[in-house]
């Protein structure tokens, strides 16, 4: 099953998104990377790497994020991991995207199919 990582500047947002997505797809593989290492607002490179590793399988991983620095940290994390092609960052609306991706992953859709379908939720993030 495709895994899902939710990155937010706030650990509460990340946890909340996971909660809502799991309500729709209880068996989905979702990990959060919210807030900094010391519990402040921000994103954390190591949390992101750990979250990816936790949900990683040969089926791949989708990363969803909220704002700016999250995507930079996520890109850096992917650069330093093996199997880069299997880990995709999707720049869509994070709450809607997480729910859609969780449902699709849980019914066995592939990484490419999910990425393609999430394009409908694209909000042109910088």
């Amino acid at each position: 099953m495709v895994g899902l990582v939710v990155i937010s500047h706030s650990s509460k947002i990340a946890e909340g998104i996971k909660e809502v997505a799991l309500q729709m797809a209880p068996n989905a593989l979702i990990e959060c990377a919210g807030g900094t290492f010391d519990g402040e607002i921000g994103t954390d490179y190591n949390k992101i790497v750990n979250a990816i590793e936790k949900v990683y399988s040969k089926d791949g991983v989708i990363i969803l994020f909220d704002l700016g620095s999250a995507v930079m940290n996520a890109e850096m994390a992917i650069e330093n991991l093996n199997d880069k092609d299997k880990i995709k960052i999707v720049k869509c609306a994070v709450v809607e995207g997480a729910i859609a991706a969780a449902v699709e992953a849980s019914i066995g859709n592939s990484l490419d199919e999910i990425v393609e379908n999430l394009k409908a939720l694209d909000i042109n993030k910088a």
């Binding site: 500047h9 807030g35 900094t36 290492f37 010391d38 402040e40 607002i41 921000g42 994103t43 954390d44 490179y45 190591n46 704002l67 700016g68 620095s69 930079m72 940290n73 890109e75 850096m76 910088a126």
Partner: protein, 213 residues
Amino acid sequence: MTVNYLQVKNIIYKIADVIEENKMYLTNLDAAIGDGDHGLNMSKGFKVVKEKLESDESKNIGDILKKVSMALISTVGGASGPLYGTAFMKAGMKAINKDEIDINDFTLLLEEALKGIKDRGKATIGEKTMVDTLEPALYALKASINDKLDCVECLDKMMDAAFIGKENTKDMIAKKGRASYLGERSKGHLDPGAVSSYLILKTICDEVKAIRG
């Protein structure tokens, strides 16, 4: 003249001190147009940088810069973490196995650092970011080296360009980061990243001049 690995370490400690002294200034600049954490984040990051280097035995400037990078990446929660982290990482890759560097090496390191920041942040000049300080600084440095100016003169020219570049961010409309949400309202304020980049470059110059005496 050359700067050896111990002097590089001392310059980095000095950068940490300057960031600490300017913590509230940077944070206030960021509060005006961003999320108000730039100074605090940078201070947190450079404190860890200092700790890591103080217990580090490397005599290799590439390793030292890489350690700076990892400390910033792991501790700075804002955009400056991945941006400066990438800058020091890319610079470090060009200083592998070097225990001293000269002005030509420094130019190469700065060029790599700038490339890293531009790739990571996907920013170009005029978007109210660190690039607006660093890119003119690099060009001025390169031009001065081409003109065969003395090392200190090269650094002075670099700092003149960095200063103007930093000041120019005041009239720019932010295109990147949290400040971009403000649009026109971001005008009239210096970009905190451009200012921290200026402070870092200025510290390097001041320290190199002090070494030269």
